[in-house]
């Protein structure tokens, strides 16, 4: 953020925060926000691309599927005891275990992915974090060369408080 001097403002109404974000982005500022819930108008105003968590979660689920297949087929072949006159490798019952492991590993990888994303996000975006932004306010951070212009836009949009980040 060299050369950028961010300011942070807090808003009581998500609609005001969304208006400020739209104006700041139009004026060329880099904008971040923190809020107690994912308010649709704020999320839309920020215009962030969709999270690519699926790129991690989907391979995680596939890994679960492969692990389930390897476990059921591999252990049955390693200890080939015929039960109920059924084939050693009986695919229909194995599908149940394979499905459960697909869901389990997929969900755990999804958890790990969101944990890394969230913790990484917390480190990167610490400047916008405000205690009340998880309670009842929307915090908006604007970074750019013209700090005064940012302050003016934020105040005009209805910011309660504008301060240096």
């Amino acid at each position: 953020m060299a050369g950028e001097r961010p300011v942070v403002a807090t808003f009581a109404a998500p609609a005001d925060a969304a208006r400020a974000i739209g104006a700041l982005r139009a004026a060329g500022f880099r904008v971040e926000a923190a809020m107690p819930a994912p308010f649709p108008e704020v999320v839309a105003a920020l215009g962030r691309p969709r999270s690519r968590l699926g790129l991690v979660t989907f391979p995680g689920a596939i890994a679960g599927l492969v692990a389930g297949t390897a476990l059921t087929v591999g252990t049955s072949v390693a200890w080939p005891l015929v039960t109920g006159g059924k084939p050693i490798v009986s695919i229909p019952p194995f599908v149940i275990v394979i499905f459960e492991l697909t869901v389990l590993v997929g969900a755990l990888v999804n958890l790990a992915a969101v944990a890394v994303g969230s913790l990484g996000g917390a480190r990167r975006e610490a400047a916008v974090s405000r205690p009340r932004a998880v309670e009842d306010r929307v915090a908006v951070l604007a970074a750019g060369a013209d700090r005064e212009a940012a302050r003016r836009i934020l105040r005009e949009a209805g910011a309660e408080e504008v301060a240096d980040a």
């Binding site: 390693a78 459960e100 969101v114 994303g117 974090s129 998880v134």
Partner: protein, 448 residues
């Protein structure tokens, strides 16, 4: 009321639920803990001195303990239905009630999971059910329904717990600010580094969608797997392709009835009437009607299919035994509770009367436990060989373990209520902001 006033009001209401507990709470906790301890002691009799404490005798080797397992797995289902499936369908009424349903799911699976272990006879060998490398290179039999249960129930417990805790993170961050002492440490831990930044929300909302997408087929699979414990055998009354959908619908019926049974006293005791409104109860009651009608249809299908068979057919004989034999009171009480209860709710007046709704839902819970008993016990008591028929009667030890499970579940739930927010603060704030913006727009258009 502005959006931020609504946010504060929601938080204050939730914080108040974590205040100093009253006498009723302590009495409830003592009763639940006492029941759980008594059930545990009764079970210890079986472990210390043997199965003669139970009414289990050939051919009826499954009784109350397996009935309890199936019942509690069923109870666990509505949590995922309400939190995951209704989330995917964007049903807004779930917002106020899904946290209680999720907590109920986790505690009900923790209760259900005890029973297969208790039923092993030698519970200290429960780890044999999991695959682990050993020097004899022995592996489990993946063709056995018992192993399917182990994988399905374990996966369900882990995924439900993760789903619950991920949902709690933003709420814990909201409560962290004004908490002190151990509660602040607890919320800081549960918040998991949450600051509500847009980057965090971006990943979080996506991850939540994936959790819901994983949990939805999982909820269908788990009770289907439980139904296959029965359906893959050749016993009359069990060997039916109807079982998976029948079990899933029954599970959701019992689970939603249990959610209502818990919510009605909870919203009053913790003054949550403004957040959990009669509309929410009404919507849940409609789910009871829907699933109740599916269960009624399944009962009718089972009976009609059996009635079409010739008089000598074991399937027909088993169903006649259920309806007219020594277990007939169980069968007809089950029909009255599970078919009659939901039909009564078709009346809007009955549905909107909170006491009537509570009574009907308690009756459905009783009916669903009896349904599990009816399935598990009557088929074993009246199999294909008449010389083998024998009536199973649970002993006081088995009843103690059954009621002990209710004690264990409610003990966990009462403790959980004091530690976790019973409603989703973040989602209610989103809803409140939506309503405030809507009201503002309406006012502006009126002003014009």
């Amino acid at each position: 009321m502005t959006a931020s006033d609504s946010f504060r009001s929601i938080e204050e209401t939730v914080r108040a639920t974590h205040g100093r507990p009253g006498l009723a709470y302590w009495l409830g906790l003592a009763l639940a803990g006492g029941l759980a301890a008594f059930g545990g002691w009764a079970y210890s009799l079986i472990v210390r001195t043997g199965l003669h404490w139970t009414g289990l005798q050939r051919p009826g080797m499954w009784g109350n303990l397996i009935t309890d397992f199936v019942f509690w797995v069923g109870i666990a289902h509505s949590g995922t239905l309400i939190s995951a499936i209704l989330y995917l369908f964007r049903a807004r009424f779930r917002t106020a009630v899904y946290r209680v349903a999720e907590m109920m799911t986790v505690f009900a699976v923790m209760t259900a999971g005890l029973y297969p272990i208790l039923h092993l006879g030698r519970p200290w060998f429960a780890y044999w059910l999991f695959p682990y490398p050993n020097q004899r290179e022995l592996w489990m039999n993946f063709r056995s329904p018992l192993i399917w249960d182990v994988f399905a129930v374990s996966t369900y417990l882990i995924v439900s717990t993760v789903f619950l805790l991920v949902g709690v993170a933003p709420d814990a961050a909201a409560l962290r600010g004004r908490a002190t002492g151990w509660r602040r440490r607890l919320y800081s831990f549960l918040a998991f580094g949450w600051h509500g930044t847009d980057e965090q929300w971006r990943h979080y909302t996506r991850a939540y969608l994936f959790f819901a997408a994983f949990a939805t087929p999982l909820v269908v699979s788990v009770h289907s797997v439980v139904s296959w414990d029965f359906a893959v055998s050749v016993l009359p009354g069990w060997h039916s392709t109807l079982f998976p959908p029948y079990f899933v619908a029954g599970a959701i019926l019992s689970g939603v009835a249990m959610v209502i049974t818990i919510l009605v006293p909870l919203r009053r005791a913790f003054r949550l009437e403004d957040l959990i409104t009669p509309r929410h109860l009404d919507m849940l009651a409609r789910l009871v009607i829907l699933t109740g009608l599916i269960v009624t249809y399944s009962y009718a299908t089972e009976i009609l299919l059996a009635a079409q068979e010739p008089a000598s057919d074991p399937e027909r004989s088993t169903f006649l035994y259920r309806m007219t034999g020594p277990y007939a009171p169980v069968f007809w009480t089950m029909i009255a509770c599970n078919c009659g209860g939901p039909i009564l709710l078709l009346s809007r007046r009955v549905r909107r009367s909170t006491p009537a709704l509570l009574v009907i839902c308690v009756a459905i819970n009783v009916g669903m436990w009896l349904e599990r008993f009816n399935i598990v016990v009557t088929s074993l008591s009246h199999d294909r060989l008449p010389f083998d028929w024998r009536v199973y009667v649970p002993t006081w030890v088995e009843w103690a373990v059954t009621f002990g499970a209710f004690g264990w579940f409610f003990f966990l739930f009462l403790v959980g209520l004091k530690l976790l927010p019973p409603v989703s603060i973040a989602e209610l704030k989103e809803e409140a902001a939506h309503l405030a913006a809507h009201a503002g727009a309406e006012e502006a258009s009126r002003g014009r």
